[in-house]
């Protein structure tokens, strides 16, 4: 096999990260726009403008999420098993909320009844807010460690409760996730609309950009002084067959900061997240939504990378039995599966980016009230 096992395990950490980033960058603004819909659209036509600004492309964006889940299944089966079953209730709530989107977009304008339409508008709102919050809450819990352990046949037992997931730090992480996606969504709306909705979006960028800066800084301090990180004390060679029970792990205060202390340039990642958020607000204010969108995308990338880099090599630490934690080196699939999936990804993902860009280019331009009136029956 062309690439050794150790390298592939690392590459797959990067790939899963990329898929999650792809999801945040694309479907992130769909969720953000959904969250803003009832507030930025004051009447039916305005709401239709907002819905149609994302309606033609959201479907492909959501596939980043589905594919990320599939890729985790293929590359880190045990992570998929433990995380999805452990976060059972939370994930189902996210799933139920996501139900509102496909039907919300497609069914909303098929009937004239205002109550019908307003119900689906709130459905789209839930479909944006709830998953954005829950994904953040999930990351907040990963950073603190999750109460699970394995038996000798690697059956996973989750010993926490759903309410335990909603601890203060995790809720803060939820607000970070929500505010960054709503900021991203507001910038996107500014790019695709005009007049009143444009102006209202501009205000939303300021509010949620500001909220992101405050909460992200708060979380940074909290991680540094308030929660224990995890540290691998000993483990088998990096290219060993994956066995999550073969290492020993300790909880150490401030351990999540160790990368930044050892490799100071990594401080640039959270640093750029702050700069990016500031810049997004400025560019949006000075009517440069295109550049603001690039800046807000960069912000999202940096926020997600900050979580990933802080935890590396941990994927899912266990708070009740730290040795059971899942890390990059002992949670992966076999060498052969990682190799095959490596080639599949290397070939297909660039192709996806290519045709997605083409579709966006074809469907570019501002959505206006005028357009909605002219396409009364064929638009969402």
């Amino acid at each position: 096999m062309l690439i050794d096992y150790e390298t592939l395990k690392l590459i797959w950490w990067v790939f899963v990260g990329l898929l999650l980033i792809g999801f945040a960058l694309t479907d992130g603004f769909d969720m953000g726009v959904g969250a803003l819909l009832p507030f930025l659209g004051k009447n039916d036509e305005e709401r239709r403008v907002i819905i149609n600004s994302i309606g033609r492309t959201w479907e492909g964006n959501q596939v980043w999420f589905i594919t990320a889940a599939g890729a985790i299944f293929a590359a880190w089966p045990i992570v998929y098993a433990v995380a999805f079953s452990g976060f059972y209730i939370a994930l189902l709530l996210a799933l139920f909320a996501l139900f509102f989107r496909p039907v919300g977009f497609d069914y909303r304008s098929k009937l004239q009844n205002p109550r019908w339409r307003s119900t689906w508008d709130w459905g789209l709102f839930i479909g944006g807010v709830v998953p954005a919050l829950i994904f953040g809450i999930a990351f907040g819990n990963l950073l603190q460690g999750v109460p699970f352990h394995f038996d000798n046949e690697l059956r996973a037992y989750y010993t926490g409760s759903f309410w335990g997931l909603l601890n203060p730090f995790a809720l803060l992480a939820g607000v970070i996730s929500l505010s960054m996606l709503v900021m991203h969504g507001a910038v996107y709306l500014q790019l695709r609309t005009e007049d009143v909705i444009y102006v209202r979006s501009q205000k939303a960028v300021k509010f949620f950009g500001g909220l992101l800066i405050i909460t992200f800084a708060l979380a940074g301090v909290w991680v540094a002084v308030g929660i224990d990180g995890f540290k691998v004390i000993s483990m088998p060679p990096l290219d060993a067959l994956p066995n999550p029970l073969a290492k020993s792990v300790e909880m150490v205060p401030g351990a999540w900061m160790s990368h930044y202390e050892m490799t100071p340039w990594t401080m640039l990642i959270p640093g750029f997240a702050f700069v990016g958020a500031f810049l997004t607000i400025l560019l949006s204010h000075f009517n440069a939504p295109g550049r603001a969108f690039i800046s807000s995308s960069a912000t999202l990338v940096c926020v997600i990378l900050t979580a990933g880099v802080s935890m590396f090599p941990f994927i899912m630490p266990s708070s009740t039995q730290p040795d059971s934690s899942l890390i990059v080196w002992d949670a992966s699939s076999s060498h052969l599966t990682l190799t095959i999936m490596f080639w599949v990804t290397v070939i297909l993902v660039p192709l996806i980016v290519l045709y997605t860009s083409w579709v966006y280019r074809v469907l570019r331009g501002k959505i206006t009230v005028q357009y909605i009136r002219e396409n009364e029956y064929s638009s969402y």
């Binding site: 209730i89 989107r101 029956y377």
Partner: protein, 519 residues
């Protein structure tokens, strides 16, 4: 592992998968039918074919939205409810799912927006290409998910690794070219084409019966009749091929479908009707057709089809070997922990390891497995036979629907060619009320495929009983209630819109050319 968590997890999977499959076959079929209609439009430049693409596209969208909604559930559910399964076989099973996302879902979902909103922004040919890409995307997704499902039925190209405690991939080409997966794919997409055709045929018949939008309805009817006839023939032929493949690798499934209790002299008879009784191991009031089953299942006159009683005996022997395998596996795990694995134990384990799964069947009765009593072994051997009556009847209902549709499509095609459909209103009524037939057949087909796989989640490797997550009953009631609530509500909404727009017909396009817009 509590029995009720297993049962509830199964129930939830059955409900969500069968519900999802209410929408999938129509997506598969209608996407191709739309692409065909649009191809005719591009070739002939006749506006009516564009209207047809647009109108059937509207109904497609109503259906597609729920297909997407319910599809996400399935991508989650292996992890949420079948965590041990996901860990145990994720090394193989995860790959086709991930590839399905990258190769199929992206294609389908990215271009679907352009299909609806790209008419004015693309040239005719470009738009046609987009439509075909949507159809290609949905068909590719069927390919990959059926490769995954085919592997559950016939797990080739993989081996158990005691060090990682899971199945690991040995040959991806074997997984892809798994004969069970291949026949399943062609059988299932053809079933999708039949569903799409029956849908278009039935709704067009409604307009013809109402004498509305005749030109539109006639052309739609003709496309559906032609495409549907080809599809239904291929479903039946490939379904037969599927039976042959099952005869090769899934002998218990085949025996249960046929309620063949005893191994008969070849070629075995086919039981047309009867009441299978699992307790007494016989079929009451059986009506048999000689020779037919032996020929379908073995493609020969002298090979025998094994009966259930003989299979139980064989499986009992495998369970006994499985106990040895499990004992050796336990030793190996212990040795691994202590850091000194004996080559001897390994070699011995390798000899028995193909029966490890049969040993695991005993986990339901005793967690240690090696201390199983004869009584427990016999119970486990009986567990290896899925519910005979359910399979027997699901299969027969599926086949009956198939042949009824064959009749409808043959007549529709023949009368279209003769240009006398309008004089044969009985066929129009039959086609209209025949719309549910493909859905019944599809759901029954899934019951045959999946109930027939029991008691395994991965045939002969991992019992369903061991595959679930360690969640509480309360969690399962919560999720089950959520799914049932949401899905019922969504189905009501979907059917309401579907009926509304189907009744409205092409007038819903607001072109001014159709029935309800003319005064």
């Amino acid at each position: 592992m509590s029995e009720s968590v297993v049962e509830l997890s199964r129930l939830q999977f059955a409900i969500t998968a069968m519900y999802h499959f209410l929408f999938v076959p129509l997506t598969l079929g209608l996407s191709v039918i739309m692409a065909i209609m649009e191809s005719v439009y591009v070739m002939t430049n006749k506006q009516i074919y564009k209207d047809m693409t647009l109108f059937w596209g509207k109904l497609f969208a109503i259906n597609f939205a729920l297909g997407v909604t319910t599809g996400i559930t399935l991508e989650f559910q292996f992890g949420t409810n079948w965590a041990y399964y996901s860990h145990y076989v994720g090394d193989i099973f995860g790959a086709p799912l991930a590839i399905e996302g990258m190769m199929a879902f992206f294609l389908e979902s990215t271009f679907i927006g352009l299909f609806f909103f790209g008419w004015d922004r693309l040239s005719k040919r470009q738009h046609l290409m987009v439509t075909w890409l949507v159809a290609l995307g949905s068909n590719l997704s069927a390919l990959w998910i059926l490769i995954a499902n085919g592997w559950m039925q016939n797990p080739v190209g993989a081996e158990f690794n005691y060090e990682t405690m899971r199945m690991e991939l040995m040959s991806f080409t074997e997984v892809i070219f798994n004969p069970v997966a291949q026949v399943k794919f062609v059988h299932t997409v053809s079933a999708g084409y039949v569903t799409g055709s029956m849908f278009v045929l039935g709704i067009s018949s409604y307009y013809l019966l109402k004498k509305r939008d005749l030109a539109f309805a006639r052309r739609s009817f003709a496309v559906a009749a032609g495409f549907g006839l080809a599809a239904v023939l291929s479903v039946i032929v490939l379904g037969d091929e599927s039976g042959y493949a099952a005869g090769e690798v899934q002998k218990t499934k085949l025996a249960a479908i046929e309620a063949e209790w005893e191994t008969e002299e070849p070629p075995a008879a086919f039981t047309l009707f009867g009441l299978p009784n699992q307790e007494t191991q016989q079929t009451d009031y059986a009506i048999k057709i000689p020779y037919v089953m032996g020929i379908i299942a073995t493609r020969s006159f002298d090979e025998e089809v094994k009966g259930i009683k003989e299979l139980i005996e064989e499986n009992e022997a495998r369970i006994r070997r499985g106990i040895i395998a499990y004992g050796l596996f336990k030793q190996l795990r212990q040795q691994l922990k202590e850091g000194k694995v004996s080559e001897e134990t390994k070699a011995e384990f390798d000899q028995y390891k193909k029966d490890l799964g049969y040993g695991l069947l005993l986990k339901k009765y005793t967690s240690k497995v090696v201390d199983a009593t004869d009584e427990q072994i016999i119970s486990a051997a009986h567990d290896t036979i899925p519910s005979v009556a359910l399979l027997f009847w699901s299969f027969r209902i599926m086949v009956a629907c198939g042949f009824l549709m064959l009749f409808i499509f043959v007549m529709a095609f023949y009368l279209t060619a003769k240009r006398t459909i309008m004089e044969n209103r009985w066929l129009l009524w039959l086609a209209l009320f025949g719309i549910p037939l493909p859905w019944i057949a599809c759901e029954m087909g899934w019951i045959v495929a999946e109930v027939g796989r029991q008691p395994w989640s991965i045939a002969e490797i991992l019992p369903t009983y061991l595959s679930t997550s360690t969640r509480s009953i309360g969690d399962l009631y919560f999720s089950l209630a959520g799914f049932i609530g949401f899905y019922t509500l969504l189905l009501v909404v979907e059917l309401y819109l579907m009926f509304k727009y189907a009744r409205l017909g092409p007038s819903s396009l607001h072109t001014g050319r159709y029935h309800f817009e003319k005064s």
